[in-house]
């Protein structure tokens, strides 16, 4: 096992798929069909590769495993990859969501399907790359390169205002990343290496930590997204095609959360402690403010997008309370949000494909013609509002328990978000699903087809399984998250602090 560069293989399997896709020739039908199959197969192989890694993963080891290292640019850039429990959980999320996305794409995207699939697979490589990188330069490459396929997905296959949204997305995130690049360059000059494993053991000059932290923060905050740099997200979601929204919500946003845990906390512990209150304020505002904004949205996707911002507020709180429940909770919340929000976007996609509108007011009484769809949508809505028994609950409750140990104010206001999430979720559900049939179009809707079932069922299962048996994920992240947390608590050096 140890001789096979399995991580590298996994990262580049989607790229191999892309190569195949490029060479498919023939008439449109043939190209579409074959490329769908190739893409599907590629993503499934990648998924199995990640499962194989999980099987060989040592749960008790908190350090990096499967490490591979090659010189790229001597003395400057190493190609170094490796994973711990935290990165593996995000990799699994990526490889799990991508086949679902591809399946959702196949019938709903009609023009330039092959190109769409290529961008999706490119995305997958970039995203897995981000979670595997153990070299800041490689990380930055993957992190930024992931922007391009997303930009194309929104800009080419998006809705009416796609160009505005695509540029807004691109410039917003690029703007943040520039600061991160500067910070990375400074780290290289200061420490002489970009190797993450080495950097984690070096203490970076405390005076500069704050500036470097801010550099990284600028990038991650935009991507999370945190208030007030969140306004690109609703626009991007509204314009993106369904599978674009899914990738965006499920995985792209998580790169920031992952970045916070791995780099902000890992490299700049003092600065993280220093800035924690600042993060809390932004997060609490995000939770309450965006929940209220979500309440008054007229567009389904926009509503879910705003709810994402609120959910990510819990994540950032969890990370910066530094205790084990907080960090595990925020990772759990990210994975759970990855599953539930993708499912919600897919649910919107299901009726959008039929009705060609996302306006809530055009709906009503959908349950009469689509009872099965209504049931699944209900489960995801409940997951989104954090009902116990769904994965959404575990993440929220762990974060809140962690936050409560740290600071009452933060936890108190964050808990208000739990009430608000019930309001906007259930109100959305009621307006779309319940009531009398609103118009003839709704009367003639057909219930879920087989493909849609195949797409949504794994997500339902994961939502419930993680809700009833969260150990599945908690065991995986426990030792790595514990290490991060212990490290932070050592730095805090406050004896009264309860572990």
């Amino acid at each position: 096992m140890s001789d096979i560069p399995i991580l590298t293989l996994m990262i580049f399997i989607p790229l191999i798929g892309v190569l195949f896709l490029l060479f498919i020739k023939g008439d449109t039908d043939f190209v579409n069909k074959t490329s769908s199959r190739v893409a599907m197969l590629t993503s499934i192989i990648t998924f199995f590769a990640s499962i194989l890694i999980l099987k060989n993963f040592n749960y008790l080891d908190a350090g990096f495993q499967f490490v591979e290292q090659h010189d790229w640019i001597v003395d400057f850039v190493n190609y170094k990859v490796g994973i711990d429990g935290i990165s593996l959980s995000f990799i699994l999320l990526t490889t799990f969501i991508t086949p679902i996305c591809i399946l959702a794409t196949i019938n709903s995207v009609r023009d330039r399907l092959r190109e769409f699939l290529i961008t999706l697979l490119l995305m997958e490589t970039m995203m897995i790359g981000v979670f595997c990188s153990l070299d800041l330069f490689i990380f930055y490459l993957f992190f930024e390169a992931g922007l391009i396929p997303m930009f194309l997905i929104i800009g080419i296959w998006g809705g009416e205002k796609r160009v505005y949204s695509a540029f807004k997305f691109f410039l917003y995130t690029l703007f943040g990343s520039i600061f991160m690049l500067v910070a990375i360059i400074y780290i290289y000059i200061d420490a002489g290496t970009l190797d993450v494993e080495k950097l984690l053991n070096i203490e970076i000059n405390k005076d500069y930590q704050k500036y470097l932290w801010l550099g990284f923060f600028a990038s991650f905050a935009v991507k999370t997204p945190m208030w007030p740099v969140h306004t690109w997200l609703p626009d991007a979601h509204v314009e993106a095609p369904t599978s674009g929204s899914v990738i965006l919500a499920a995985i792209l946003l998580k790169m920031a959360g992952y970045g916070f845990i791995r780099f902000s906390l890992g490299l700049f512990p003092d600065a993280s402690i220093y800035f924690a209150p600042f993060v809390f304020i932004l997060s609490v505002i995000a939770i309450i403010y965006t929940s209220l904004v979500a309440l008054v949205q007229n567009d389904m996707k926009k509503l879910i997008a705003y709810s994402s911002v609120a959910h990510m507020g819990f994540v950032t709180i969890g990370i910066f309370v530094f205790n084990k429940q907080g960090i595990e909770g925020s990772i759990f919340q990210m994975i759970s949000h990855g599953i539930i929000s993708s499912a919600l976007f897919l649910c919107v996609g299901v009726i959008y494909d039929r009705m060609r509108t996302r306006e809530i007011s055009h709906y009503g009484g959908v349950v009469n013609s689509m009872p099965k769809y209504a049931t699944l949508f209900m489960i995801f809505t409940l997951g989104s509002l954090g009902l116990p028994g769904t994965s959404g609950f575990i993440g929220e409750i762990l974060v809140l328990i962690g936050a409560f140990k740290f600071n009452y104010w933060v936890a108190f206001f964050a808990t208000i978000g739990v009430v608000l999430s019930a309001c906007y979720s259930l109100w959305l559900y009621k307006r779309v699903i319940f009531g009398e049939i609103k118009n003839d179009q709704i009367k003639n809707l057909t219930d879920l087809n087989k493909r849609e079932y195949i797409i949504l069922t794994p997500l339902v299962i994961m939502t419930l399984v993680l809700g009833f048996y969260p150990g599945l994920l908690l065991d995986l992240i426990s030792s790595s998250a514990g290490k991060v947390s212990e490290n932070m608590i050592n730095y805090m050096n406050i004896s009264t602090y309860i572990k």
Binding site: V293, P388, Y408, A411, C423
Partner: protein, 635 residues
Amino acid sequence: MAYLIIMFPLLGFLITSFIGKKIGDAASQFVTCLLVFASSLISFFYFFQFIKGSEVLNFVIFEWISSGNLNLNWSIYIDSLTSVMLVVVTSVSFLVHVYSIGYMQHDPHKPRFMGYLSLFTFAMLMLITSDNFLQLFFGWEGVGLASYLLIGFWFKKPSANAAAIKAFIVNRVGDFGLAIGVFLIFKFTGSLNFSEVFQQIPSLDQKKINFLGVEGGLITYICIFLFIGAMGKSAQLFLHTWLPDAMEGPTPVSALIHAATMVTAGVFLVVRCSPLFEYSDISKSLIILIGASTAFFAATVALVQNDIKKIIAYSTCSQLGYMFFAAGVGAYHIAIFHLFTHAFFKALLFLCAGSVIHSLNEEQDIRKMGGIYKKIPFTYIFMIIGTLAITGFPFFSGFYSKDAILEATYFSPNNMGGYATVLGVFTALLTSIYSWRLIYKTFHGTYRGEINKYKKIHESPVIILLPLFFLTLGAIFSGFIFKDIFIGNEHQDFWQSSIFFKDQFILKHPPLWFLLFTPVCGLLIIIGSYFIYIKNTHILENLKKINQPLYNFLLNKWYFDEIYNFIFIRPTKAIGSFFWNKGDIKLIDGFGPNGFAKIIKSISERAVLFQSGYLYHYAFVILIGLTILLTYLLL
């Protein structure tokens, strides 16, 4: 075997939801009834074990959450308190399942309905058999979900949907309090397991914390937040507004969830946490205050309502108030005793009301009823028995439990005890008045509905009457049979460690006049209200005219909904719109991305002017540049 109590209803839910359509309505109904019946048999088995004096049972099913020092299991915990709740929940649930077969016979979604009932039963059982706060919270929100689904069962009705959401959200407000209480407990005890938490409470007695800038006792804080949760679930004053609206759901639901079981979860929580509440006099006073006020408030509103189900709903609200102030004065076992008897007679009243509604072809307005007792004699008799029980008529079940509560408050050392006694007695009188008003207006006098409907009035089928019969037995005998076990002098033998009394609870005997006061008044009211509501209705009309503002005040339920709409709902939406339009669009986008875009555009527009293409423009600029450069170099 204990697993089965919980697993049977879950199985029923799963069967109906996955293959309910395939196996058909009858099979779905049969399977769910049978499964709940089985779990009620097992519940009775455990109950009798505990009467004999069994040990506490605690099984771990499997690990739930393990993160740092937070370790929780899915578990089953049965002690005397749980066993009482098990009997109440499973037996009422079974009877309601059976009743639903008859009541929902014209509904096209029978498997779904039965499934939801079983889901509710499952969640409720998870709540009461939990050995930790988080599984309790799971059940707590689970019953909320089932309640939401069942209130909104007729999803085409906008009012039902609105009521369903209202119920869920008001409950969430309560859950918010419960959650904060739970977080506080975990922060200071490092555990959420009941026994581990309760062990540490005495040592935290004097601990003070500064919570959100207010200094206070830790245990008091915990208790108050837990109680807020209880208020939401049990529809106590300020968080009660969802319960009357919840009557939009089918009547069996109202009987099971909104009368007998779910709404009593708050009382259960307080009693379960008696080791906590016993250490906080402030929170106990608060419970008495809220409980007694609710009892009074709801009874006044019930006096003037015209919807048969709403009257009973307010009556439930009022009776829950009794249970709370009983717990507040430290008579936890009496609170549970009242919960126990109340479950039977209130479920009975609701199901009778359902039978009336069913017979009258979905008529719920008592102004359109009257004089129908001959047409539906069985329902009439059952309802009379239910009414005798709730009004505390001697030797019926309510008599024992309600009197015990009033006696306990009478002797309570708590400074709120007097308040509760006065309101409790007064409310008991109001209870009699509204209950008999309901009987008289519904069954006696002359029929006031549409004439052609009158002929169609018919007694309900046996499948509806049979559950009523069994509940009637409960309403008559449950007080008399169990009073010695539950609240007699030897009550400690039964409750063992499940209820904690800091000081031993001894029931003293109050003066005779106090004992006789309520039953005698109750008797007088039966006669008096007959005169007012049937014989001389003009007295009432005059009373209404003279006190029009008061009447409207009561009719509109003290204007709670209007006030909440004004101070919570409308501002929330307004703030949301404000944040969106002014915050996101104007401020952030306006100054952020769009603002930048504008600035860059205008700069580049100006920059474009430089590239005019005219040679003399460029020559001029070069000349000026040269001049400045030379000047700089020379000086």
